[in-house]
C-alpha cells in the first residue's frame, strides 16, 4: 500500500495542473480530493476512475481483483466504443470469497491471469486492485511481475483501490500505471512528421469517430489515442508522437506532461466540443507538428477542411433558427464541455438562462453562479422541491444538465437533455454540434409535453403537486417576509463553500470578528475556498460587501494589468482594448480575438462583466 500512497502523493504534486500551481505546499499534499461527507451523495471511487480511463483500450483483458461488488455491479456499463476487439467489454473478476479474504487472494489472482491468457490470449492483462485485497495486503505488483515473466506478456498492475479517493484520482493513477508499465515499451513500425497522440479521449458513444476522419483527411496520423478505441501496442508506442493534444479534462495531465518531460513531445490542451473549439484544436495541433518540422503548408490543408466543415455545420445549425429562436435554456452544469457550446446555442437564437447573460447586474451574476455551480454539488444540496422552484422561476423551456438531475426535470414535466454524459449521443466536432442542436429541437418539440402537463379529469388543478409546491414556496416566502430574524438566518445559512460546507454566516462572522481583509485570510480561518477553490470569487464579493466597496482601490493602470485569463495569460487591459478596437460584443468573440477564456473557461463570466461594462455605454452613446 505504501507504493500506492507514494503514487498518490506524486499525482498530487502535478505541477502542470493550474489548480495545483495555485496551491501552497500543504494544500497540495492534501490533493484534489474533496472531503467526503458521510451521508452525502456518493461519487465513483478511484477504482471506477481507473477503469473508466483504461477500459477503452479494446484488446486488453481488464481483470478486477476484488469481491463481486466492484466488477459485478458495474461491468459493461461504460459507453466507450470499439472498432475492433470487444474483449474490453468482457467482465473479468477474481470474485474473492470469504476464504480468500482470510488466506489472501494472490493465488487466485495468479490463476485468473493464467486462465485469461489460456482462453483469450490478449496482448496484455490489466489487473485492477480494489479495497478489500488492498486491506488484506495482496501484492498485485508482485503477482503481475511473476505472471509477466511466466507468460511472456505484459501484465500491468493498476494500483487504484477505491478508498484512496474519488474518480478523478483514479484517472490519474491509471495514467501512472501506463507510464510505469506500458508507454515506451514498443517501438512503432515507422514514424511520420504528422504522428500525434490524443490523450483523455475515451470514444464514448463513438465521439472520436466524429473527429478522427477529419484528422486523417488533413494528414495527421493518430499514433495513439489514450484511451478511446485504442490497442495495446498503440498506447505502448505513444512516446514516438510529434505532438500531443490533451482533451479538455485534466484527467490525464500526468501522462501528457511526462511525455513532454521524457520524450520532448509538446502538448496543448484543447477540446473537440463546439465548432470554434474544434477548429482551434485542429489549428493548434497542426502548429505543434509544424513547429517540429512538418511543412508550413500543412496549415493550408487544415484551413481548407475547417472552412468546409464550419460552413456545413453552420448552415445546418442555422436551419433550426426559426424553431429555436427565443427559447430559454436552463443550463445547469459544471461540465459544459466548452463555452462554444453556449455560443452555438446563442447563435440559433436561444436564450441561456443561467449563463453569460449580457448586461446582467451583480445580483444576476450571483444567481447565475448559483445556477451554474458545480452540478453534483448544486444538486446534492438542493432539495428537489427547491429545484422545481428554480426550474419554474427560470421560466425555461428546456433544461440541459448532467444525468443526475434528469428525474427532477422530467417529473417537473420539463424537457431535458443530457449534455454532460456522452453515453448515448456523441456531440464531438462539427457534426456533433449539429446533432446537439438537433437533439434540443427534438426534445423541445416533442408533442408529449402538452399532454403530460394536463391534469387528470378527476383532479382539481389546485390539488396537483405543482400547485402544492407553489403554495408551499409562497408560504415560505411570506413567512420569511414576516419574520426578519428567520429571513436573516436563512440568508446566513446559504452555503458558500460546497467542498468544506461553510455558510455565509460563518464567513461573515469570521470577517467581522477577525477584521479580515483578504480572501486568503478568510480561507485560512474558515477553510472555505480550500477545496476546489471555486468559491473564492464569492468570498471576495462578501469581503467587498462588508467593506462597503472594493477591498483595495486600484489605479486605472493596476486595474488594466490584472490578469483575467490565467490559462492564456490575458489581462483586463488587453481584453478591453480588443473589445474597443474590434467592437466585440460576445464572450466568444473576445475569446476568438484574445484567447482569453480559451483555456479552462472559468474566466468567461468575468469577460462577460467586462463586456457589459464597455458595451452598454457604447450602445447608449450610439443612440
Amino acid at each position: 500500500m505504501s507504493s500506492v500512497s507514494a503514487t498518490v502523493q506524486d499525482v498530487f504534486n502535478e505541477p502542470a495542473c493550474p489548480k495545483n500551481a495555485a496551491k501552497s505546499e500543504k494544500e497540495r499534499k492534501k490533493g484534489c480530493t474533496k472531503q467526503l461527507q458521510p451521508g452525502g451523495a456518493a461519487g465513483g471511487c478511484a477504482f471506477d476512475g481507473a477503469k473508466i480511463a483504461l477500459q477503452p483500450i479494446t484488446d486488453v483483458a481488464h481483470l478486477v481483483h476484488g469481491p463481486i461488488a466492484c466488477e459485478g455491479n458495474s461491468w459493461d456499463n461504460r459507453g466507450a466504443y470499439s472498432s475492433g476487439s470487444t474483449l474490453y467489454r468482457t467482465g473479468f473478476t477474481t470474485d474473492l470469497n470469504e476464504t480468500d479474504v482470510v488466506f489472501g487472494g494472490e493465488k487466485r489472482l495468479y490463476k485468473s491471469i493464467k486462465e485469461i491468457i489460456e482462453k483469450y490470449n490478449p496482448p496484455s492483462v490489466f489487473v485492477y486492485q480494489t479495497c478489500v485485497p488492498a486491506m488484506i495486503g495482496d501484492d498485485i505488483d508482485a503477482v503481475c511481475k511473476a505472471a509477466s515473466k511466466k507468460f511472456g506478456k505484459p501484465i500491468v498492475p493498476v494500483n487504484s483501490p477505491g478508498f484512496v479517493g474519488p474518480k478523478n484520482l483514479g484517472n490519474k493513477l491509471a495514467g501512472e500505471a501506463l507510464l510505469a508499465h506500458v508507454i515506451g515499451t514498443v517501438e512503432p513500425e515507422y514514424t511520420t512528421p504528422y504522428d500525434v497522440n490524443i490523450i483523455g479521449e475515451y470514444n464514448l458513444a463513438g465521439e472520436m469517430w466524429q473527429v478522427e476522419p477529419l484528422l486523417k483527411e488533413i494528414g495527421f496520423r493518430i499514433l495513439s489515442c489514450i484511451s478511446g478505441d485504442a490497442k495495446y501496442t498503440d498506447v505502448a508506442s505513444s512516446h514516438r508522437a510529434r505532438a500531443t493534444m490533451m482533451v479538455c479534462s485534466k484527467a490525464m495531465i500526468n501522462i501528457t506532461r511526462k511525455l513532454e518531460d521524457l520524450y520532448g513531445i509538446p502538448y496543448f490542451e484543447g477540446s473537440f466540443y463546439g465548432i470554434g473549439d474544434m477548429s482551434d484544436s485542429l489549428r493548434q495541433l497542426a502548429q505543434l507538428v509544424i513547429d517540429r518540422g512538418a511543412p508550413a503548408e500543412f496549415m493550408d490543408r487544415v484551413e481548407a477542411v475547417i472552412a468546409r466543415e464550419e460552413k456545413l455545420a453552420w448552415d445546418e445549425i442555422m436551419s433550426y433558427l426559426p424553431r429555436l429562436k427565443g427559447k430559454k435554456v436552463l443550463l445547469i452544469t459544471g461540465g459544459v464541455k466548452s463555452w462554444s457550446v453556449v455560443a452555438a446555442l446563442q447563435e440559433v437564437g436561444m436564450e441561456i438562462v443561467g449563463t453569460s447573460v449580457k448586461k446582467s447586474t451583480k445580483e444576476d451574476k450571483e444567481r447565475i453562479k448559483e445556477l451554474m455551480g458545480e452540478d453534483a454539488h448544486a444538486f446534492d444540496d438542493m432539495s428537489p422541491r427547491e429545484m422545481y422552484k428554480m426550474l419554474k422561476d427560470a421560466r425555461a423551456d428546456i433544461m440541459l444538465s448532467g444525468g443526475r438531475s434528469q428525474f427532477i426535470a422530467l417529473k417537473a414535466n420539463m424537457p431535458w437533455l443530457d449534455i454532460n454524459q456522452e453515453r448515448h449521443h456523441a456531440y464531438s466536432g462539427y457534426k456533433g454540434m449539429v446533432d446537439l442542436v438537433k437533439e434540443i429541437d427534438k426534445a423541445l418539440y416533442n408533442p408529449i409535453w402538452d399532454q403530460v402537463r394536463t391534469i387528470a379529469p378527476w383532479q382539481n388543478a389546485a390539488d396537483s403537486w405543482q400547485a402544492k409546491a407553489d403554495a408551499e414556496a409562497a408560504r415560505e416566502a411570506a413567512e420569511l417576509a414576516a419574520d426578519p430574524a428567520k429571513a436573516e438566518a436563512k440568508r446566513r445559512s446559504k452555503k458558500i463553500c460546497k467542498c468544506k460546507t461553510v455558510d455565509l454566516g460563518t464567513i461573515e462572522d469570521a470577517i467581522s470578528t477577525g477584521a479580515l481583509t483578504t480572501v486568503e485570510q478568510v480561507v485560512d480561518i474558515t477553510h472555505a475556498g480550500s477545496g476546489c477553490t471555486g468559491c473564492r470569487g464569492a468570498i471576495g464579493g462578501i469581503l467587498e460587501g462588508l467593506a462597503g466597496g472594493p477591498v483595495v482601490e486600484l489605479t486605472l493602470e493596476e486595474r488594466r494589468a490584472v490578469k483575467i485569463c490565467n490559462c492564456k495569460d490575458v489581462t483586463r487591459g488587453m481584453i478591453e482594448d480588443a473589445v474597443h478596437a474590434k467592437n466585440l460584443t460576445t464572450v466568444a468573440e473576445v475569446t476568438e480575438a484574445t484567447n482569453a477564456g480559451g483555456g479552462c473557461t472559468s474566466c468567461c463570466d468575468t469577460i462577460d462583466d467586462i463586456l457589459s461594462e464597455i458595451v452598454a455605454p457604447i450602445a447608449v452613446a450610439a443612440e
Partner: protein
C-alpha cells in the same frame, strides 16, 4: 432434479452475480421514508446507485458512510455517526437501513455497537429507526442480502402484539422475494384484494419504484410500506411468503408475533397460481371473483396457443436461485427443456430444478453451455453472449438497463403468465427458422453444373 455443480474457475468472466449489499439496499427502498446507507467506501455505493437508476429509471435513494483508506483502518464509528446525523437532518429519513460491505467487514467494524453508541450520544435521533444488516460482498449474493434485510426489519421493527390480541382477519402480510417486480406486486395486490383482504407488502417496491409521479419530491424512498404499518404487522391473521428465501422472514414474523404463514416457492404458471388462489379461497372463505376466473381461462387458452411454439425449445438460463427455480419450472411446464443452467450461489432450491445440472458460475459458462439453444434468459448482461451466439435474449432479472419497463415486467398471476407466454412465444416466432431450399438436402440448383442444366435454352 438437478445436480448442483460449483464452477472450478479462479476467474469469474462476465459475472452473473451481484453483490449482497445492493440486495439489502433494494429491500430498504420498499419502505416509506427510508434511506439505505452502505457502510463502506463511496465507490460501492456509487455502483449500486448507477445500477438501480439504469434499471428502474428513477431517482434512487442510497447513501454512503464514505470510508476513506484511513477511516477504514481506524474503524468507522465516526463515519457511521456522521452519516446518520446528516441523513436525519438533511433528508428527513425516518428509517436508515445500514448494510455493511466487503471493506468494513474485512476490517470487522462492529456496527451494532456503533449504533448503540450513536443512540447514547444522540437522544435527539430517538425516533429515527436504525436497522443494520451484515452483508459482506465476499459472501452470498443479491437474493441473500434481500432475505437477511427483510428478516432483520421484522426482527427490529415489528411490535410484539398482546398475547390475547384479536387478529385482524382482513390483514394479510405478503413477504415477496427479491425476484418480484413492482408489476408483479401490483398484480398480486389486485388478486388478494379480490378476496376481501387488505394486503401489506414488506417490502413494497410497487409503491416506491413503479415509476409513478410523486405528489411531492422527496430524497428518501417515495412510497412503500410505512413504519407504522410495519410495527403493526403483528396482529395480522395471515402471512404469505413468496420464494424459498423468504422463509427466514416469515419464520421471524411467526416467532415474534405468532402470525402463521404459508410459503409459496413458485408463483409463475397455471398450477402455482391455482395453488395460490386456492389458498386465498380457503383463508377468506370467499368465492373467486369473476374476473380472475376469466383470467384463468385466458391463460389456459394462451398455453394452448403458445405450446406449439414453446414445445421442445432449448433454453439457456442464468438467474438467481429462487427466480431460476420458478421461471424454469414454468418453461418446462410449457414443454421447454432447460439445457444450460447457471446460477449465482448454491442453495437447496436449485436441486429441485428440472434439468440435469445447474452450474454455479458466470455468463461465460452460460455462453459455453448455451451454444445451440433456442433462447437465452438472463439479465441484460446476457446481450454480449446473445450477439456472439446469435441466440435471442429474453431479459429477466436485474439489471435490465438497455430496455424500458423493467419494473413492470409481470410474470405472476394468471395474467402475468398469459403475457409471459405471449412474449416468449413471440420471440420464437420472430426467430423461427423458415425452410429454405437447402434445409433438408443440398439444393439441386447448386449441383446443377454436372446435370443437364434446365436453364440453358437457346
Amino acid at each position: 432434479m438437478a445436480i448442483v455443480e460449483i464452477g472450478k474457475k479462479a476467474c469469474a468472466v462476465n459475472p452473473l452475480k451481484m453483490s449482497q449489499p445492493i440486495g439489502g439496499a433494494l429491500a430498504f427502498m420498499g419502505i416509506r421514508d427510508s434511506m439505505p446507507l452502505f457502510h463502506g467506501s463511496q465507490g460501492c455505493t456509487s455502483f449500486g446507485l448507477v445500477l438501480f437508476v439504469r434499471h428502474f429509471k428513477e431517482a434512487i435513494p442510497l447513501q454512503t458512510t464514505a470510508m476513506s483508506e484511513v477511516a477504514t483502518v481506524l474503524g468507522g464509528y465516526e463515519n457511521v455517526e456522521q452519516a446518520i446525523v446528516n441523513i436525519s437532518n438533511k433528508q428527513k429519513a425516518r428509517l436508515i437501513g445500514i448494510c455493511s460491505t466487503g471493506v468494513t467487514e474485512t476490517k470487522g467494524d462492529d456496527v451494532d455497537a456503533y449504533i448503540s453508541l450513536v443512540r447514547q450520544q444522540h437522544p435527539e435521533l430517538d425516533d429515527i429507526a436504525l436497522v443494520y444488516v451484515s452483508t459482506p460482498d465476499f459472501k452470498d449474493a443479491f437474493q441473500d442480502g434481500w432475505e437477511k434485510t427483510v428478516a432483520k426489519i421484522i426482527e427490529k421493527l415489528v411490535k410484539e402484539p398482546e398475547p390475547d390480541v384479536a387478529r385482524d382477519q382482513k390483514k394479510l402480510v405478503v413477504l415477496p422475494g427479491s425476484q418480484y417486480t413492482p408489476g408483479d406486486l401490483d398484480e398480486l395486490r389486485d388478486i388478494i384484494e379480490g378476496f376481501g383482504f387488505e394486503p401489506l407488502f414488506l417490502p413494497d417496491l410497487a409503491a416506491s419504484l413503479d415509476g409513478h409521479i410523486p405528489d411531492d419530491f422527496t430524497p428518501t424512498s417515495l412510497g412503500g410500506i410505512s413504519l407504522e404499518e410495519i410495527a403493526a404487522l403483528g396482529d395480522a391473521a395471515h402471512c404469505i411468503a413468496l420464494g424459498s428465501h423468504m422463509k427466514l422472514a416469515a419464520e421471524t414474523l411467526q416467532k415474534k408475533a405468532g402470525v402463521p404463514f404459508k410459503l409459496f416457492e413458485r408463483m409463475i404458471g397455471l398450477l402455482p397460481t391455482d395453488a395460490f388462489i386456492a389458498h386465498l379461497m380457503e383463508i377468506s372463505g370467499r368465492e373467486v371473483p369473476l374476473r380472475i376466473k376469466r383470467q384463468r381461462s385466458q391463460l389456459v387458452d394462451a398455453m394452448l396457443d403458445g405450446h406449439f411454439h414453446t414445445g421442445g425449445k432449448k433454453i439457456a438460463m442464468g438467474l438467481e436461485p429462487d427466480f431460476f427455480y420458478d421461471l424454469s419450472s414454468f418453461l418446462v411446464e410449457m414443454g421447454c427443456h432447460i439445457t444450460a443452467a447457471v446460477s449465482t450461489n448454491a442453495t437447496p432450491i436449485l436441486e429441485k430444478v428440472q434439468c440435469e445440472s445447474v452450474l454455479i458460475g458466470d455468463l461465460e459458462d452460460l455462453e459455453r453451455l448455451g451454444a445451440g439453444c433456442d433462447l437465452l434468459i438472463t439479465h441484460a448482461h446476457g446481450r454480449q453472449a446473445s450477439e456472439r451466439l446469435h441466440i435471442p435474449l429474453f431479459r429477466m432479472g436485474l439489471p435490465i438497463f438497455d430496455r424500458l419497463g423493467a419494473g413492470h415486467i409481470t410474470a405472476v398471476g394468471y395474467r402475468g403468465a398469459r403475457d409471459l407466454i405471449f412474449d416468449i412465444a413471440n420471440m420464437f416466432i420472430a426467430n423461427a427458422h423458415v425452410a429454405r431450399p437447402d434445409t433438408w438436402y443440398p439444393h439441386p440448383a447448386e449441383g446443377a453444373d454436372s446435370l443437364a442444366s434446365p436453364t440453358v435454352a437457346h
